[in-house]
């Protein structure tokens, strides 16, 4: 009996002792959904946070991918580029003056964080260069393949993270090169052939799906909707006047520059279908102001994007997007088409038909304005646009995967000011 009582005491004591130590805990981010545990953003300059012809920690913080991560309440590491940038963004695009007075070739290097990357996007990447850093067309963005990704491909960096969710916005540069080429505006030779695009996109999709991650794909933007290039007819009307609405009246400043001309072949209605990149137009105006006769000529296929070239680009975008949408549908991905929103913004005037070049004509040059949606390079979305993109992607994720991301994302999350 005594032995039994003692044994019972021992058992009770040991049971008590089992609770004598307590566990410490994981300090995980309080993700709003397990899907967001490891979010990887793949893409190009937009996803990386490139704005106004440059990129630095400030612009990177404002990329839609980083804003989304704030809504997800998940950890998000991007290849932080020291200030003023690599290269630094323009603060006055008309003079090409950059933040901190840096040159366009300067790079303040990578901050070298000791963590795996969530934002693996590299400016300049096309669908093919997600798979290999070689074989693409030479680009001013090439140094960033090392400085942001260390020579790894986006696919490699994505795989290391074992993602639970991937956002994939790729393909813009497969057609954009043609649109923004300053050596041959509208150079359709820079459009990735559709068969090649499709095959490479499929390879990317296979690699992502192999990780088991959920995916949201974003369509290729219709590059002809961006304010980098404007209708030649508008320039004609500004210079020469006499155009009916909705074309603008004659601009006194341009009209007063005798060495600057816009040829009659750019007059509406035919001139509507030619596009002039703003750096080319500005260059001609500047040359004229300097006394060198200069003209916008819609027969000049090097300086002007022709209707045929515009059509080729539009067809490429539509074809790419048809494939992306079919891939998304077949693989159970979420899919968001940016183009309806882009068209609506253009129709509403948020994307101007012609940039505000008055600053360029001022004795003390101020930036050319591309409206609230585009940054000072006329190609990359502004911080305001990144918020809109984040909201749309969040809504797409919620609809497809039943998540509860806040929309607008920055209505709840503590986002940096746009």
């Amino acid at each position: 009996m005594k032995t039994n009582r003692l044994a019972a005491s021992l058992v009770l004591t040991l049971a008590t002792l089992m609770g004598c130590h307590s566990d410490e805990s994981l300090n995980s981010p309080t993700v709003t959904d397990p899907l967001f545990q490891r979010y990887v953003a793949m893409g190009n300059s937009i996803t990386a946070g490139f704005q106004s012809g440059g990129i630095n920690d400030s612009t990177q913080q404002r990329s839609y991918a980083r804003l989304l991560s704030l809504g997800m309440q998940t950890s998000f590491v991007y290849p932080k580029l020291n200030m003023p940038g690599c290269p630094a963004p323009f603060d006055v695009n008309t003079t090409q003056h950059r933040v901190g007075g840096a040159a366009g070739t300067d790079c303040a290097l990578n901050a070298a964080q000791p963590q795996l990357l969530n934002d693996v996007a590299v400016p300049g990447n096309a669908v093919g260069t997600l798979l290999s850093n070689f074989g693409g067309l030479p680009s001013s963005f090439d140094p960033l393949k090392t400085l942001m990704a260390g020579g790894r491909t986006e696919i490699e960096l994505m795989q290391v993270m074992h993602p639970t969710l991937v956002s994939l916005w790729i393909g813009n540069n497969d057609v954009l090169g043609a649109f923004i080429s300053l050596s041959n505006a509208g150079d359709t030779g820079q459009i990735t052939p559709l068969a090649q695009f499709n095959a490479q996109y499929d390879s990317v999709a296979d690699a992502i799906d192999a990780t088991g991650a959920k995916v949201v794909a974003i369509s290729v933007a219709n590059v002809t909707n961006i304010p980098f290039a404007s209708s030649a007819a508008i320039y004609y009307c500004l210079k020469n006047g006499g155009c009916p609405p909705p074309f603008p009246p004659q601009n006194a400043t341009l009209a007063a520059i005798p060495t600057f001309t816009v040829n009659a072949n750019c007059a509406p209605p035919a001139g509507i279908n030619y596009l002039v990149p703003w750096p080319i137009a500005l260059g001609k105006v500047s040359a004229a102001v300097g006394g060198t006769p200069s003209a916008i000529d819609c027969a000049d296929t090097i300086s002007v994007i022709s209707p045929e070239e515009i059509t080729a680009m539009a067809v490429a975008v539509a074809s790419y997007n048809a494939h992306i949408q079919s891939v998304a549908a077949a693989r159970g991905w979420a899919y968001w088409d940016i183009n309806p929103a882009l068209s609506a913004l253009r129709a509403a005037g948020s994307i101007p038909a012609l940039p505000d070049i008055s600053g360029a004509l001022s004795p003390t040059p101020t930036p050319i304005g591309f409206g609230p949606i585009f940054s000072q390079d006329g190609v990359h979305p502004s911080s305001v646009a990144h918020r809109l993109i984040a909201d749309s992607v969040a809504a797409t994720l919620n609809a497809k995967f039943g998540t509860t991301l806040p929309v607008p994302v920055c209505g709840t999350a503590s986002c940096p000011a746009p």
């Binding site: 005594k2 032995t3 003692l6 005491s9 021992l10 004591t13 040991l14 002792l17 089992m18 004598c20 130590h21 307590s22 566990d23 410490e24 805990s25 994981l26 300090n27 995980s28 981010p29 545990q37 490891r38 950890s75 590491v77 290849p79 790079c107 290097l109 990578n110 901050a111 070298a112 964080q113 000791p114 963590q115 795996l116 990357l117 850093n133 070689f134 030479p138 090439d142 140094p143 960033l144 393949k145 090392t146 400085l147 942001m148 990704a149 260390g150 020579g151 790894r152 960096l157 290391v160 993270m161 074992h162």
Partner: protein, 468 residues
């Protein structure tokens, strides 16, 4: 008789319940499993060592009980099967300890030269560890394999002064071996000229976690120390014990370090900041570092580790003739172990310092042994202690923490002086925060940890002793 029994029972209960630690402290990389008999009762025995020769470890004074003209030969082993993982706070990614079983052998030989004097020699390992992670584990840049092995060869003498007092002592000859294997992360390495000083490959964009070298440091060393014990038996049913194991500093002077290049497979893209042609293999750029004269050339290395002194106090009481309750308190001065510095003969190889910042520790052990029959003993036990390392220095090399340990065992006293013991022990370590990054990689003023270590272990001990 009844009154005496109540006294014994009260004393035993007090030992078990009244001395529970409010905040138990820790045991570093000490090992306390040197006998299946003792392991079954939580390693207690400073006041009443098992009769299997392990008195040389648990209290040398206990060896004096062997008896005149009797010789003891014992051998055993504890097989340790650890399991554990590290989970990163931010990514949730988990790295697991390798699933392996590690044997810790013991051998004892003793002889009673009179009823009061005995001598023997024991071979045991009071300090040691092996942590073995996958070479791809997250903490590989701190260490993916750490091995510390200290085998003590201890000649021992013991003397029974009278029926109340036993004393004993020994000299410990320590044969030590240390090994650390780790990968090197290219992102943390300075580019060197013509790049400005301080610019690392990480600043050029090389991502964190880019393995480019495997380092294997190892060395052997010896040291000498002492081990002393006293047992007092004021009444027949109660004994008290104390033991002291001296500190030993083991100098590993003739170590080596071998560096093996790991190919990154990176081909430098066009426009790379090194100014090299597109397609240049980065590994070819790095390779000269491994050649003779380079900072990663193989060479001599040295370090030293200090095994702390140990004090153990304990009591054993017999509430009944068949039951023995035991309680030990073990104090270990881990504060002597503040850092590990690896020095290299190659002047181009920077020294490596692993901060430790240990604190002194205390472990509490409770054991019970019940003689079911004269031939069969059953044992149980419980151990509680905390970790020696502060959270900032808990790394893959030694992911230790406070532990609760549960033991059970059985012993068979067979005829002819043969004795067989077996024991099982489960180590339940509390989940412990720690880091897989170098200490300097965390912003000042923030937690110096980036995740959670989980650890547990199953131990099986078996030993055979023969007295003739």
């Amino acid at each position: 008789m009844t009154r005496q029994w109540h006294l014994r029972f009260a004393l035993g209960t007090a030992l078990l319940l009244g001395v529970l630690p409010a905040s138990a402290a820790a045991q570093g990389y000490s090992v306390n499993e040197h006998s299946a008999c003792a392991t079954g009762r939580a390693g207690t025995g400073v006041a009443a060592p098992c009769a299997d020769g392990s008195a040389m470890v648990y209290n040398p004074a206990g060896l004096s009980s062997i008896g005149k003209g009797r010789t003891l030969i014992a051998a055993g082993a504890t097989f340790i099967a650890p399991g554990g993982s590290f989970t990163n706070d931010n990514t949730g990614l988990k790295s697991d300890l390798s699933s392996k079983v590690y044997p810790v052998p013991t051998v004892y030989l003793a002889h009673g030269f009179s009823d009061r004097f005995a001598a023997g020699i024991g071979l045991y390992a009071p300090y040691g560890l092996t942590t073995d992670w996958s070479p791809s584990s997250e903490g590989r840049f701190i260490g993916y394999k750490t091995l510390i092995r200290n085998i003590y060869l201890q000649p021992t003498v013991a003397f029974k002064v009278n029926r109340y007092l036993q004393i004993g002592g020994g000299i410990d000859f320590n044969f030590g071996h240390v090994q650390l294997r780790q990968h090197l992360d290219l992102s943390t390495i300075a580019v060197g000229p013509p790049a400005p000083a301080g610019v690392t490959f990480g600043n050029l964009g090389i991502p964190a976690g880019t393995d480019f070298a495997d380092a294997n440091l190892q060395g052997n060393g010896t040291s000498v120390g002492g081990h002393f014990g006293v047992i007092v038996t004021p009444v027949k049913y109660l004994s008290l014990g104390i033991r002291y194991l001296t500190k030993q500093t083991v100098k590993y002077k003739d170590g080596t370090v071998d560096f093996t290049q790991i190919n990154t497979g990176i081909l430098l893209p066009a426009g790379n900041p090194l100014g090299l042609p597109a397609g240049t293999p980065l590994d070819a750029v790095i390779a000269p570092n491994f050649e003779a004269g380079g900072p990663l050339a193989d060479g001599a290395a040295s370090t030293q580790l200090t095994n702390p002194e140990q004090w153990t106090f304990g009591a054993a009481v017999n509430p009944t003739d068949k039951l023995t309750l035991l309680f030990d308190v073990s104090l270990q001065q881990w504060s002597v172990f503040q850092q590990v510095v690896f020095q290299f003969a190659n002047p181009g190889t920077p020294d490596v310092t692993l901060p430790q910042g240990n604190k002194n520790t205390t472990g509490y052990r409770f054991g019970a042994q019940y003689a079911v029959t004269p031939m069969v003993d059953l044992r149980i036990g419980y151990i509680n202690h905390n970790g020696a390392l502060p959270a900032d220095n808990v790394t893959p090399n030694l992911p230790e923490g406070k532990r609760a340990e549960f033991t059970a065992g059985v012993g068979f006293n067979l005829s002819g002086g043969l004795r067989i013991d077996g024991a099982y022990q489960y180590i339940d370590q509390a989940d412990r925060r720690g880091r897989t990054l170098p200490a300097g990689d965390f912003p000042a003023g923030t937690s110096q940890t980036n995740g959670l270590f989980n650890f547990h272990a199953h131990l099986v001990s078996a030993s055979v002793s023969y007295v003739f």
